[in-house]
Point group: C2
Chain length 260, copies 2
């Protein structure tokens, strides 16, 4: 542990999440000691912002920080863990789909999973409302992790690895797949020289509803109304686009089935 009263952290990774999380923690008084990334090009700019040193070699990682925050892609976590020295601070990864057991070589292992998407183009992410799902290999570590997460978010929740995997899966359905539906809509409209912005008020209303009632209650549309005439007409419009027709049928059946 650092002798000072402020807590210290090392960021492993310099991508979107490290960029935003590093700044949010820095702003709350966590001293970012060091940023690791495989290339200087990515490590140095973030280190400079955070007033930290940087390294491109995991052997050179500062050994006595309070927190080691692994913000690398899921498929790089195992490799990073293997290359890291056996530090005594809390080592946490930030992934929705990776079990805490991947960190078993460390005495204090944890998961710090912020449920949000990040892009560097967005200047500042306000973590205040971002749910942060935490897990730890001991109650002491969990308590300390809760303190860390509560510095930046008012929505800190415990979630074990099984729950976290489900949260990540649910997020893929609710966000990534919804966005793909928006993308399909944009393509359909473009074929008729219409702009996607036409749909924004309707999408806004769709989103506004699920803040008040459950998605099942908020469901509308031809399938919900059992309006088979419209369903068949819309399938006819998609006759040259079998993949879209397939999605249309599956979703309409799914919505019909939910009502039973």
């Amino acid at each position: 542990m650092a002798p000072n009263k402020y807590k210290t952290a090392v960021l492993i990774g310099a991508g979107n999440l490290a960029f935003h999380l590093g700044q949010a923690l820095f702003a709350k008084g966590i001293k970012i000691m060091q940023v690791f990334s495989r290339t200087e090009t990515s490590a140095k700019p973030l280190a400079d912002i955070l007033n930290a040193t940087f390294t491109t070699n995991l052997d050179n990682i500062i050994p006595d920080a309070d927190y080691y925050i692994i913000c690398v892609k899921d498929d790089a976590i195992t490799e990073v863990v293997k290359a890291m020295p056996a530090v005594s601070g809390i080592v946490m990864h930030t992934s929705g789909s990776i079990e805490i057991s991947v960190l078993q070589k460390f005495a204090k292992a944890a998961v710090f999973y912020p449920l949000q998407t990040f892009s560097k183009s967005k200047a500042n992410v306000d973590f205040e409302l971002v749910p942060i799902c935490i897990e730890a290999n001991s109650s002491e570590t969990l308590t300390e992790l809760k303190k860390l997460a509560s510095l930046i978010s008012s929505n800190v929740q415990e979630a074990d690895s099984a729950q976290r995997k489900t949260i990540h899966l649910a997020a893929v359905f609710a966000c990534n797949f919804s966005n793909h539906l928006f993308s399909i809509s944009a393509d359909l409209l473009a074929e008729q020289n219409l702009d996607f912005s036409l749909l924004l008020p309707l999408i806004e209303e769709t989103f506004s509803k699920i803040k008040k009632v459950s998605p099942a209650e908020a469901q509308t549309g031809p399938a919900k109304r059992k309006d088979f005439i419209t369903i068949n007409k819309q399938l006819e419009l998609l006759k040259d686009q079998p993949e879209l027709a397939n999605i249309y049928s599956m979703f309409s059946e799914g919505i019909l089935k939910k009502q039973k």
Copy 2:
């Protein structure tokens, strides 16, 4: 035409759309003369709100209104048109998927399609930002319709029947099907005793992005990152839910394909 300077309208139907559209037009000085619905139970309350008379018989419809606004379900439009007397005012339907030609018995035929979902539980719908897609069988009628729509919305767009059908189809993908994805997410979370509200900040961010960049540019997630390890893990989580696994595969393939 009514001799007075104010324009007059008859509402055919007393459902959610008639309820909100009637009030919005009434508030802008359109005199709602009459509300038709098949039952007094549905016709009278709306007529009372709008200071209008009501009828449950299409034979008794006031013959000299400026506008006849058909707000019935798609599959009832043909029947209503057949039963209506051949009035001289503008007769418009409000459906996304029905051609204007269904109104050919009327001299002045039009479509007035507000691109929004409506529920009676919502007290007041602000039409100001709701896109209203209009079509008419003559340029004079189109001009008059544009005036009518512009009373309540600043987003009035001409769209022919082919375009309108595509808009409706795109809205089903972007809104009704997205909502079904939210519903699937809520079910997945409930299986792990987790609440859907956990996802709201992430959904809000997803929606916020597409106001700034195209949905294709806004796409994130395992498929976008070509993170096949996560894709396979998530499919494994869905091994007992083949319908969801099917959606997962189709959407992941769709997102991968879009990048090529």
